[in-house]
Symmetry: C2
Amino acid sequence: MKGENPNPSPRSGAAAELLCGVNAKALLDSVDAFLFDCDGVIWKGDKLIDGVSQTLDLLRSKGKKLVFVTNNSTKSRAQYANKFRSLGLSVTQDEIFSSSFAAAMYLKVNHFPPNKKEDGEKRVQLKSSCFFEHDKNVGAVVVGLDPDINYYKLQYGTLCIRENPGCLFIATNCDSVGHMTDLQEWPGAGCMVGAICGSTGREPIVVGKPSTFMMEFLLQKFHMSPSRMCMVGDRLDTDILFGQNAGCKTLLVLSGVTTESILGDSSNSIQPDYYTSKVSDILKLLGE
Amino acid sequence: MKGENPNPSPRSGAAAELLCGVNAKALLDSVDAFLFDCDGVIWKGDKLIDGVSQTLDLLRSKGKKLVFVTNNSTKSRAQYANKFRSLGLSVTQDEIFSSSFAAAMYLKVNHFPPNKKEDGEKRVQLKSSCFFEHDKNVGAVVVGLDPDINYYKLQYGTLCIRENPGCLFIATNCDSVGHMTDLQEWPGAGCMVGAICGSTGREPIVVGKPSTFMMEFLLQKFHMSPSRMCMVGDRLDTDILFGQNAGCKTLLVLSGVTTESILGDSSNSIQPDYYTSKVSDILKLLGE
């Protein structure tokens, strides 16, 4: 994966520490920025998680930068800012780094013209005389979570990758699970990416977490050392691994997909620096 | 993969021999049965490949058993027999071994009740209050080529595999390419299988080629040694590998997806015993 730090955090491997009053204070003193995943950390579906608003206010009042780093590719930065606003949180567009933004940045730094938009409602005609035409000028296929996945799109993307010379295959992320509703889990972008891997025999360039591609833009914006940042997330193989790959401190919250038993299971090799049940524990532990 | 022969054919690695009069005669004398792939060997889409009918007649007249082994899972054995008949070939149902038959046999030998049929036209409702129900009694998800792939089916299969204890994930095959029309290639079963791998983090049990699962049923039926069989196919990583895994002789035909330059490329490690341009070369080389 592009952009991964060859020197993982020295803590990886050692068991995570439960967040307490003492280490929460030390963590706060040792970092200048908190990077938050959103689904399972800030909100679940359309519901804000308890105490998040007050916790973010506290961190800002202590001079910490707040950044939101999400693998969700179904919204633009502007749509994300609207979602924060609708939940009563004041977050600006340039504090948001989504995998759709990362894909756009990847194309920009590689000098690609803006991509064409496909029509999600198109259906394929499988008559024996029908020849499926695709645009020979498409130079990149970007695959993210798409509940409108169908054979037309799969054939279109496959033909571009197989037949257009040098065509890139970019994945916003490879998460197996997507948060389409708050009641249960749904197939994530890893499903659509897996389909294109299966039809092309190619592996994608991943721009979302745990790839640290987004970190480059974040550093350009905020001018601080990754070692003075703490990544806060609910997923070990994306959020925590991203933080470790980038050289940040890491805090796992149990308000999303990871349970304490998954964290402690012998099959899990990814250990954050700290873990706690939810973001607002910080507020409580600091006695604010 | 289940059922693979740990002792690959001694010829694998050595360069394939071009079929000629001398080795064609020797091949014919050394085998009692020919196993044919269909797409790209017997037909292309809905068109019979030149000389196939006369070649099959010759082989039968010389007392050879003919068997048809296909990864195409979109037809039953009866539908396959109809396709042969419509192209003027007399082939009986029990000479046909398809990956859909293999999947059914896999379930049968593992004592599964017949599977429910899903409605390909169902679409998913993604309202935040909607809970997607799945049948907790489904014990196996069988994935094959499906041009009606959609998010509903992906969620259904994913939930069964993730949440039903012991639920099997069976792939009819993992071919990247499917022959939906004769004018171009389309995403094959590998696309749908990749999607479910991506959403479940699980690897499938593959029952089609190159897995030799089907060979067990073929041997029960025909009572002959695999070393007295020749697998004829157009794909290296399915047909020829299947033949080699099973201990058969192998003949690659260039009338399908493999070109002579792919065969000879340094990146290709799969070498059949023999290769020729098309099945009817046998007829010509034997001077019949």
